[in-house]
């Protein structure tokens, strides 16, 4: 294998690794509420979510080749890489993509370890921005859209991130408030089992929609890498193997389930009862689909979290753990810059060593960080067996103390 092909192979494998973390990071968005209300058993929930993600990923024939164009200037409007960037055989573009993906994966794993639902798209965009800043400088990044359009880092990422949790929260709050009014005179039997179907339906819609949107992003990145290295030329289609690989990888990630995140979303924010769970999930599904139709880019994670919070605020007498919500909000604010900083560092290291050795070192660093975080997560494992245990703030603090004192 020539050095170029090895570099390309590393980018493809790393992109699939990102796709995998994207899957398990986002299982919670669709399924946390259904698992918490016991509308579905944990294992059924992840299996359903994974199947629908796979169907969604394979269903799309639209090409998301221009996914990086939202935040950086690597590609022409038709999706081909800028000619001046592939003059060196595509090495620089591939190294930027590799560093970006490494940054996104490391941040996704870190937030998973902390059990925080951060946005995978923010991590990917953050990585792309950081690696591009390091590789091409300030002008490589598309900060704002032209002619006041909602585009660029500000318009496609930051503004929607500020607005979408609030919108979802209002919608879920209003829905929950009235649903509890209607359900007030119902007996326990109707309150629990009656609302399950509505909830499972809405959660399924979200899973399907996630498959069509998020797997596409990885397909776009891999296809861009293939075009940049001259292995693919068609800008109107994604190679079939790329589509299959991305679909199965995101489904596998979803099936393994990010249980730490599911636990925080389902048990940590508010105690979710069936009517609330249904309101929250329908609110998320409606906001996600409506914004997709209206061309308003937003993050599924932010919407799902906003909805669950809203369902807590809207239910009379519910206790919302604002401390947990605050930790989440801080993770949202830091996702883009943190993934960006890691990616920029990766690019600087990789670039200093040359594309050949540099890319290998980036992948080794990534593997090291991933192994460290995985081993760390085993100290206090969370899985389908204990995902629904009571949320105990006091216990959590006690367990944390030895770590601090060491």
């Amino acid at each position: 294998m020539s050095p170029e092909l090895i570099l390309l192979a590393l980018v493809v494998v790393t992109a699939l690794a990102f796709d995998f973390t994207n899957g398990f990071h986002d299982t919670a968005n669709a399924m946390a509420a259904s698992i918490a209300t016991k509308a579905l058993t944990p294992k059924t929930a992840v299996a359903l979510c994974a199947s629908l993600n796979l169907v969604g990923a394979l269903l799309s024939v639209e090409v998301a080749l221009t996914v990086t164009n939202a935040v950086i200037n690597l590609q022409n409007p038709d999706g081909t890489p800028k000619p001046e960037l592939v003059a060196d055989g595509g090495d620089k573009i591939l190294l930027i993509l590799l560093a970006a993906l490494a940054g996104a994966i490391i941040w996704n794993l870190a937030t998973w370890l902390w059990g925080l639902p951060s946005s995978s798209s923010h991590a990917l965009f953050g990585g792309l921005i950081g690696a591009t800043l390091a590789g091409l400088g300030w002008g490589g990044v598309r900060w704002v859209g032209a002619d006041g359009k909602l585009d660029g880092v500000i318009g496609k990422v930051i503004i929607p991130a500020l607005m979408s949790p609030a919108i979802a929260m209002i919608v879920a709050m209003v829905g929950t408030h009235f649903v509890f009014k209607v359900a007030a005179s119902l007996t326990e039997k109707y309150r629990t089992s009656g609302f399950r179907w509505g909830q499972v339906g809405a959660a399924s819609l979200m899973s399907l929609s996630h498959g069509t949107n998020d797997a596409q992003k990885t397909m776009g990145v891999i296809t861009l890498a293939l075009i940049a290295s001259g292995q693919w030329t068609d800008t109107h289609a994604v190679p079939l193997w790329v589509k299959l690989a991305c679909g199965f990888t995101i489904a596998l990630g979803t099936y393994l389930g990010g249980w730490r995140i599911i636990r925080t979303m389902g048990k940590g924010l508010v105690e979710i009862e069936a009517p609330q769970g249904m309101s929250a999930d329908m609110s998320s599904a409606a906001v996600i689909l409506a914004s997709s139709q209206l061309g308003f880019a937003l993050s599924t994670t932010h919407v799902a979290t906003g909805s669950i919070l809203g369902s807590g605020v809207g239910r009379p007498g519910a206790q919302v753990r604002w401390g947990v919500a605050g930790r989440m909000a801080s993770a949202w604010l830091t996702t883009l810059p943190s993934a960006g900083a890691v990616a920029a560092l990766m690019f600087v290291i990789g670039n200093a060593l040359g594309a050949g050795y540099g890319s290998a070192v980036i992948v080794l660093l990534l593997c090291g960080a991933a192994t460290y975080m995985f081993v760390h997560s085993r100290k206090e494992p969370i899985g389908h067996h204990n995902v629904n245990d009571e949320w105990d703030d006091a216990k959590k603090k006690k367990q944390k103390q030895p770590e601090v004192s060491v």
């Binding site: 969604g56 269903l59 799309s60 639209e62 704002v144 859209g145 006041g148 359009k149 909602l150 500000i154 318009g155 503004i159 929607p160 607005m163 979408s164 919108i167 979802a168 209002i170 919608v171 879920a172 209003v174 829905g175 929950t176 009235f178 649903v179 209607v182 359900a183 005179s185 119902l186 007996t187 039997k189 109707y190 009656g194 609302f195 509505g198 339906g201 809405a202 819609l205 399907l208 929609s209 069509t212 009517p275 249904m278 309101s279 329908m282 609110s283 998320s284 599904a285 409606a286 906001v287 689909l289 409506a290 914004s291 997709s292 139709q293 209206l294 061309g295 308003f296 937003l298 909805s307």
Partner: protein, 93 residues
């Protein structure tokens, strides 16, 4: 750009309130109607009319869910939802 953002946001909020808050309320009313049909509501006897009302309410929710699936599938094939008067239809992007 902030104007464009606000413009997008209020539309999403409106659609969200209509579907995201409205459908759960209809669903809850449907569950309540079944309880009514079964005579499980306090101060009210069983009434079979509850089943008819529940059927109608659930049909509306189901229709919205089907429209949602249709939207996702169509979007994947390069079609988008458009409104022909009040009737939804799919047109090529």
């Amino acid at each position: 750009m902030w104007l464009a953002a606000l413009d997008g946001a209020w539309r999403v909020l409106l659609a969200g309130l209509l579907l995201g808050s409205g459908l759960p309320i209809l669903f809850a009313l449907g569950v309540k109607s079944i309880a009514w049909a079964n005579g499980d509501l306090p101060d009210r006897g069983a009434n079979p009319a509850g089943k008819v009302i529940a059927g109608l309410l659930f049909a509306v929710v189901l229709l919205a869910v089907l429209l949602g699936i249709g939207y996702i599938v169509a979007h994947g094939f390069g079609y988008t939802l458009s409104w022909n008067g009040w009737l939804p239809g799919f047109t090529h992007k």
